[in-house]
Symmetry: C2
Subunit: 678 residues, 2 copies
């Protein structure tokens, strides 16, 4: 070849390139904009060309986060039956990260061989079953003094009796816990105002105690439910099951719940339905659950005195059932831990306002929200002002004594959030709208009339939950609301019969008397967003890189960490143990030679400390995939059961020579068996 004649400057250029390959990337602030004034004529011309109305133009400016600028909030959204959690920027509504929780996720190296992730996922498995997905429902951020503190996130699995802890230091799931006596849960997840406990209640009752068997014909006698109070270890965020407890509940279906706040701190409120104790049987001469469960005009709000319950447990009044302290229904009655309040039929929400005084219930088959007053509840309990007991002997507080008001908000009220100005905002599933109404006069700052509908905004379509920024705290913000719509129908391009959900960003106009305004639609096409919480971005103190040699579960130094140059391979019998490093743009060693049937123990350290210098590690045909963030150590153990020549490679585009960051796993065939994929 006639290299010299060609217009290439390969040789001189190479030195600079090779230096650049291992250096940190240069982070220019220059985003290529020319600056200067765009002028209104420019804006009008773009709007004209793109068919934007003047309203659209305003909304575009309200939502847009310019290149290189940051969102104000992070919304943590359940991923529903994807089993994961989404972190979304607000107001841009851009998905910043999918966090793997209950389902393996190869991109994050979660459940594809990396030891830490296998350990986390196994934490929630019942004996003999490896659960491979979940249905995340209600995220709950940790709180200090009733404010989100940006440390921990908890989320339940509706499909199985589990909950997970996500560490907000690195947005990774660090613990999955099997909840005894609980097969499923729905909306009962909340954290108490100082993160003493995370609460979760069972959705479906089951033969009690769990592990026994009983036919549905014995439903009322033998089925029970549980309200779980899971103790948070303050330092690590993990659940301490020994210090956790449950309260036995009647066989109703437990639903949305909320913690008391401020004056109601120490209490919890759980909406429930199916006081009918209907069990379906639509092909056994019965009626469908939906009909049977919608017969009674009132179900029961469960009012729990968790501080008293905690004391009762400490006083030895609980029984250990399947590994957790359980307060029986009888004890709950005797000790005054649990009261019922009638709530209009098929309630979905049970939401406590920022003052802690008002508990708002949306009865989904009643066009009103019903607002209870904590002060009245306390007085009624004090006065034993009961209108009777339920079939299990639980006292029912007299409705008229505890209700503060009702507001007719529209069809299908579900869930309520609040602003700081004395308003509640309730999602209306059937009306596909959000209603805004006033609470009691002691919290209204706008001069409006208490318990009055003041505004309604249509949403698109079939809204489930809704959220305001910092909405579950004692000081919600008054700017953004997000409506979590279950159907999108005609709002987006058709991407198949499985349509995306629709997150709608709504302007609350400062919580004043101005009408709410829709800003933007966001398709959610990788999960069903069930519920979300929105936290101020500056409350999150998330790591950019791990300290060198980090074990992500302990956040300490891994016993398997190495520095570059300390790589080694040891063989003991049929065990091959390798301490490998990953660094732009090679693994060391890059050849691993084993014999078919050998056990391979692989410890890999990403020896980089440069932000974003993540390496992946995958082995073809071995189902192995890890994500090694800077400073991280990952361990694998596997049996080299397939003979042949396999490639391992970096799965995260890390450098110009990323394609060359690869190596060989040579599995020499054993005499007896050759199982070589071709």
């Amino acid at each position: 070849m006639k290299d010299k004649a060609r217009k290439v400057t390969v040789v001189a250029f190479m030195g600079a390139v090779l230096l650049a390959l291992t250096a940190s990337v240069s982070c220019s602030d220059d985003d290529g904009n020319g600056g200067g004034s765009s002028g209104n004529a420019d804006l009008d011309a773009i709007a004209q060309e793109r068919g934007l109305t003047p309203e659209d133009m305003k909304h575009a400016l309200q939502q847009f986060v310019p290149p290189g600028k940051y969102d104000d909030y992070v919304m943590f959204a359940s991923g529903g039956h994807s089993g994961q959690v989404l972190a979304v920027g607000v107001p841009s509504m851009r998905i910043l990260k999918t966090i793997a929780v209950f389902s393996p996720e190869s991109w994050q190296g979660y459940g594809r061989g990396a030891d830490w992730s296998e350990e986390v996922l196994a934490g929630g498995n019942p004996p003999g079953t490896e659960l491979e997905w979940g249905d995340t429902h209600h995220p709950a951020l940790s709180e200090t003094g009733g404010e989100y503190d940006g440390r921990y996130l908890y989320i339940n699995d509706r499909a199985n009796g589990r909950m997970a802890f996500v560490d907000l230091a690195d947005l990774r799931t660090k613990q999955i816990v099997a909840i005894p006596n609980t097969k499923t849960s729905h909306g009962g997840m909340f954290v108490t105002p100082n993160s003493e406990y995370v609460h979760m209640s069972a959705q479906y009752p089951e033969p009690w105690p769990a592990g026994s068997y009983a036919d549905l014909s014995e439903y009322q006698e033998k089925y029970r439910s549980a309200s779980s109070w899971l103790k948070i270890d303050e330092a690590t965020g993990r659940i301490n099951m020994e210090e956790s407890f449950q309260i036995e509940l009647p066989p109703y279906n437990q639903d949305l719940a909320d913690a008391g706040k401020k004056i109601s701190d120490g209490w919890g409120f759980i909406g429930s339905f199916n006081t009918e104790m209907a069990t379906g049987g639509n092909m056994e001469g019965g009626e469908s659950m939906e009909a049977g469960m919608s017969t009674n005009n009132f179900d029961y709000l469960h009012v729990v005195n968790w501080k008293a319950a905690e004391a009762a447990v400490k006083a030895g009044k609980a029984t250990n059932i399947n590994g957790v302290n359980v307060l029986s229904l009888e004890t709950a009655i005797d000790e005054g831990l649990l009261y019922l309040i009638p709530e209009p039929k098929s309630p979905h929400g049970a939401d406590v306002d920022p003052s802690g005084r008002y508990i708002v219930v949306g009865g989904k088959l009643d066009p009103h929200v019903t607002i209870f007053d904590f002060n009245k509840i306390q007085a009624a309990i004090e006065a034993k002002d009961f209108e009777g007991t339920d079939p299990f002997g639980l006292p029912i507080l007299t409705y008229d004594s505890v209700v503060a008001g009702q507001v007719e908000v529209g069809a299908g009220p579900l869930h309520t959030q609040f602003d700081s100005q004395g308003h509640g905002y309730t999602s209306l599933f059937l009306a596909s709208a959000v209603a805004k109404f006033t609470l009691g006069e002691d919290v209204i700052k706008t001069g409006e009339t208490p318990f009055t509908l003041t505004d309604t905004i249509p949403v698109h379509y079939n809204i489930g939950h809704l959220v305001t920024a910092e909405g579950d705290t004692v000081t919600p913000d008054d700017n953004y609301m997000v409506a979590l719509n279950k159907w999108s129908i005609d709002r987006f391009l058709t991407v198949g019969p499985l349509h995306p959900q629709n997150f709608q960003l709504i302007d609350l106009k400062g919580g004043g008397t101005e009408k709410m305004e829709l800003i933007a639609d966001t398709p959610i096409g990788n999960a069903e967003p069930h519920y979300v919480q929105i936290i101020k971005a500056d409350k999150l103190k998330t790591l950019d890189v791990y300290p060198a040699g980090t074990d992500v579960l302990t956040m300490g130094t891994s016993e398997f960490a190495i520095a570059a140059g300390d790589e080694k391979v040891e063989r003991n019998g049929n065990v091959v143990e390798i301490w490998m490093s990953a660094q732009r743009s090679h693994f060391t060693p890059d050849i691993v030679r084993v014999k078919q049937g050998d056990t391979v123990k692989l410890h890999i350290t990403n020896v980089e400390q440069t932000k974003d210098a993540t390496h992946g590690f995958a082995v073809s045909y071995y189902n192995i995939q890890a994500s090694l963030d800077p400073g991280e150590v990952v361990n694998f153990e596997f049996v080299a059961d397939k003979s042949g020549v396999f490639n391992f490679y970096c799965t995260e585009f890390c450098s110009a020579l990323h394609l060359e960051m690869a190596g060989w796993l040579l599995v020499e065939p054993s005499g007896s068996a050759v199982a070589n994929p071709n």
Copy 2:
């Protein structure tokens, strides 16, 4: 309870509600905006409050898609090591859907028990191994006459020798194919201009034929690679392996590839690297792969005459190896099927311009792009104008005879896309920029000088691929480019050491002589976007609902479909077979009684035909989750090995009584074993 005294209108309201529950949702066009003029003062006030510059205001208007309006394009993006594909709206950059491809995805009911999905996933498994993730790399849209036709999408798995077919009728993966003699692939995926074949080439050579074993010391002698030409069945989109073929290649690493177009139709172009045949060994006295593979100043562009290869196969010149017709290297040489062209070191791109005349190569360790002329290639082949042969006897076309020009574009050129005005746009990994340059004068429509750098725009950061709208067709659009950046570093809120990728939307200004302009950044936090293609939205003819009783694999009527009212349960020995319906808001039957150890065969029909009326079907603790879109039939078969009372429920929020859409799986304990999760 004193119902009458309470301000509830439950009874009267119920009739209307129950009607509404099963009716189609009402799709109001009213988005709650007041209309009228926003006025420039309004816009300026918002910009002032949010800190937007005049440029930001323009960009906001360029990107914003108002609520209820549609994006112009759909971008199909590889999900990298998530194993999935993303469908993204352009210009809004909103993710419309994650399409499950190589990794199970419970939200879509993919790989969690539904028979169709288990069948698809199993299609790519080697004997004895169940692959549970993949690394999607290069999506390739089907074409007719060199234009995307919106019918089919193909994508390869870099981690394992597989490719997948996604049906754009419903955006579901319908086939995964194991590619013989191929353990991994990288960027070699493309569809020929009339969708005759989809091409995929092996990235790493392996002992040849696959299934044999050879040490790396015998690399040059015994390792080979393959270029696969996979025949597309025109009617179904599926790969027909019997009519597919491979061409044996030397043990170089095959990389990005592209199909010839128009004048070069019938040819394919594959970039490759590692003509050094380096195999690493950095702990065995050798050097790392990255160093060994970067020694030679030139690697080889592989030029394949696929129409002649197809004819050779039909003429019986191929040999069946591991289930596919293979043309040996010898045959390829003898029949003139394969030629090499020297390309500057460590090439990454090999991209054919819309005219089909120019093939642009980016050598990632050379600051130039090198542009070859198909007419000159044809003349050189005709004249046997070779500068030698490679070690395997393949003829090397004389570089000077086939090169059209070189352009110094900057550090680390990788991949090139084109507009319709005679420009190429090349990603520069090391420079973190995109370079714009002119092609030959016969295609330039702007009067600019051929083979000249005309513009550069910085990107943030470490760009891999890039794409223009309709970019791989014979008529690309000249409006949008998306830069696929691998690092985002300081561009978004920190969401942990695993940072999102960054898709940057760039304004091409009509492909004229104006400078390119950055519009917006988009974090991609659920995958590594490797490569993407952008198709005009109106080319997609995607189903809104399935016809009643659809089997999604055949798209015909399922033999297990039922209408409402035809539900039944049959028991034969220890097999319980159930034909179930799903409809707002119940399953029929809603109680399933089996004995521990029974085999359960479950056929579920979503009997609805309302757009977006998807139901999910999950069984707690049984790892079962399906998504049943309107009209869809899903089948499960499982052994009821765990005794106890389990809940099945609808996982997709479908109605106000969605929570009540549930049922019971009663697994009566067998005498011998009770394994009841508690």
